[in-house]
Symmetry: C2
Subunit: 132 residues, 2 copies
């Protein structure tokens, strides 16, 4: 299949595919007139790339998975290098989530403090009076 069809099938753009090729991630064969040609294997590689991208992996991080598949392994994560990327990503995610959670708490505290300092604030709880 040609580039347009591959892009359509995978749900991406021809521009992205050319970009991946320029990065050496998804090279293409060429027909006589210079058109790029792809097969179902390439579609599989592309899907692997896109799945990881959705997870927030950047392109370079998808490379071990793609090379693993190209080496003939059934899954992109059948190779140690891919597992290494997974582990690094998990650590990265944990650190990021922890940081964001901390920030969230601080911003929440700031908001609460600021609201409390303002007249006609955030539905003051102290006006509740039992069941009446």
């Amino acid at each position: 299949m040609r580039i347009g069809e591959l892009a359509a099938r995978a749900g991406t753009t021809t521009r992205a595919l050319r970009y991946y090729e320029s990065r050496g991630l998804l090279p293409a064969r060429r027909t006589g007139n210079g058109y790029r040609t792809y097969d179902d294997g390439d579609l599989k590689l592309l899907r692997q790339i896109m799945t990881l991208q959705d997870f927030g992996f950047d392109l370079e991080e998808t490379r071990p998975f793609v090379e693993c598949l190209r080496a003939g392994h059934p899954e992109g994560d059948s190779c140690p290098a891919s597992l290494g990327v997974y582990r690094r990503k998990l650590a990265e995610l944990d650190a990021l989530i922890e940081q964001l959670t901390s920030v969230r708490a601080q911003v929440g505290a700031q908001l609460a403090r600021a609201e409390a300092a303002v007249p006609g604030g955030p539905e003051p709880k102290c006006e509740l009076g039992g069941h009446a």
Copy 2:
């Protein structure tokens, strides 16, 4: 004080200060020779900007806080516009944390599955045998 001193006191760079000025966020007075001049009020504004930046606010989001301070309020978040930014940021953080948590779970599951499919895997639990 001049730009270098302000930058040093706040722990940032002169380039950043000129950038903030170019965005209209932190304008400076000028001396006869064209040098920028700042006072302690500007230092306070700058600290507000930097604190929010540390929280991951982008520059535009700090603007209401800075304008609030410049309007004479004791805190940058003494104004409704600032509270609005806080709230939007909280929602944004919640969404992001949720998404990252989901991704973390999925990546973790992928790693576990991939490790299980590999020989000499991740210290198999099944070899434990009671207290002996």
